[in-house]
Point group: C2
Chain length 335, copies 2
């Protein structure tokens, strides 16, 4: 049995994944079924789970390194928006067949890079084989000071809406990933096109912004299914209306070029997914302090709108006229 | 957008899953991306993740109620074996298509029943649509007194090996689920065959045994991939040898009938999976106290073997002769 074990499921776990858990004592070298987490004193724990699957969230021929990064990044993004500090994660892998060693090495390296960038460790997981797309499920655990979790549903009328980073790069990057020839239609050179594709492949959750969110935001969430849809969720959960000013939506240079070349792409910017930026509602009297804290953290934030009474979500285009956003955002179960 | 939301992904979550989270304040009605968990004072948290997928862990035509139960039970089983009390879980669902309302109602009812039986609540999750088999991933969180987590790798030479419940029912039940005509070959009437299939469909983790494991076991794990394989894992992780006496392995009446009718089925009993019983290593001087505590908890435990020096795992058959167990147990990536 021992020899068999050196080549089977347990061996795969020990060779590829146990090294990623070596910094976390409660992982027991991935030789136990469970992970042990001693909660940091005075902290609440924040848990989130998101899976990425081949053909849905990534392409079969994406680099294993990028796939691994993305699987962790999309979960860390959720934690950051709650003001939480990442601690650990569990990994649930489903392979249709055992991946080859080169793929596993790239996947391991991608996880290692993401762990280092985001400050968390592998604590446990589950590996199985089944038909269907390769799927990587992550459950991430973070810590937030007791009683300070930043909810989605606690925005107030009058709160200003801030967005971190730039919007729409990943959605435009996805279009380019699907058809590189679109770069010319978007007026983009190769460097710019590559930058947008990179934003799709490797989301960059804004970890350093978490303390500012914790201190100044009345509500926050990450933008993963498109600003229009996610802002609607924040407004609905909070019982407020929201208005987004398109002209204030921050665009990267490549995205600005693309939108100026093809104005219809602004709808993609507003409604496409995979941004993994933070949308935060901040009371007006704390807005300057939030801006200052964000600047000190090295993360750009832009005021993109405001909450109000009522329940409508309206979006003004770059020309100031209301946009039709009825279909906005990604939905796994569209009606 | 509001109307769209009443029929899409968010509506599915609100209609089917939010009621399961109503008892857990940190779930925020499933309107947030993250769940909030305030750790009980003086307790460590125990985390585990296991997925069940159609065609691998259940059949497409299994009742939705049973599928839901199994998805939770296999995770709770991991917690119980560590001496932990279940607190909450996250649910990661992947559907190839939106299931119909009757299926969702059965699935919801199965989760509700399992939550009540196991004493935990839905805290959060993730739902997406993708090709491939229906998959239900669960991450369960439990609590154990600080510093008391029962590891897999801490058995000592001389420890007695105890098994809860009876072994092999689920593996025999799976054979019957695949081909009901086997009942006659096993010498089983319809009631007995149904009982074994029920053990496959609805695992019963031994929650009430957790305090006895916590107090008396030097090491423990749940048996999910077959006793032979899982005992090997415990022995290897602990650096001990283990010997299992087949004649002591506890069998249910239907399983005993089947094995007496077809002695080869004893290999299935030893190496089949899906038992979700507890394998515990207990020092000899604590064995009586463990037996007493187990009896008071209402869970039968049987002494099935012993740990020793060295590293071999040997299994004596019901006739006392050594069995060849080189291929034993379920492996998702067999070599």
């Amino acid at each position: 049995m021992a020899e068999r074990e050196t080549r089977g499921e347990d061996a795969l776990i020990q060779a590829t994944f146990a090294p990623l858990a070596s910094g976390f004592p409660g992982a027991f070298g991935l030789k136990d079924d469970c992970a042990l987490l001693t909660p940091p004193a005075g902290m609440d724990l924040v848990l989130t789970t998101d899976a990425v699957a081949e053909g849905v969230h990534f392409f079969a021929d994406d680099a294993a390194h990028d796939i691994a990064w993305k699987a962790l990044a999309v979960n860390v993004s959720d934690l950051v928006a709650k003001g939480a500090r990442p601690l650990a994660y569990l990994l649930a892998l489903s392979f249709p067949d055992r991946p080859d060693d080169a793929w596993l090495a790239g996947f391991q390296a991608g996880l290692a890079d993401a762990q280092a960038a985001f400050g968390l460790s592998l604590a446990g997981g589950d590996t199985d084989r089944r038909p269907g797309p390769l799927s990587i499920g992550v459950t991430a655990v973070g810590a937030v000071p007791h009683g300070r979790f930043v909810q989605r549903g606690t925005a107030q009328p009058g709160d200003l809406l801030f967005l971190s980073g730039t919007l729409g790069d990943a959605a435009l990057g996805l279009l380019l990933r699907q058809d590189r020839a679109r770069a010319a239609q978007m007026g983009l050179d190769d460097v710019s096109a590559r930058a947008l594709v990179g934003r799709y492949l490797r989301p960059q959750p804004k970890l350093s912004l978490a303390p500012a969110i914790l201190e100044f935001a009345s509500a926050a969430m990450d933008v993963s299914d498109g600003l229009v849809k996610d802002c609607g969720r924040l407004a609905r959960a909070s019982g407020v209306s929201a208005r987004i000013e398109g002209v204030r939506v921050p665009l990267s240079e490549p995205a600005r070029t693309a939108v100026e070349h093809s104005p219809d792409l602004f709808q993609v910017v507003l409604s496409g997914g995979d941004d993994y930026e933070v949308l935060a509602a901040v009371p007006p009297d704390r807005a300057d302090a939030f801006r200052d804290a964000a600047a000190k953290s090295g993360v750009a934030v832009a005021e993109v709108g405001q909450c109000g009474d009522g329940q409508d979500v309206t979006v003004a285009g770059r020309d100031g006229r209301a946009l039709d956003v009825a279909g906005g955002g990604w939905d796994h179960f569209p009606s």
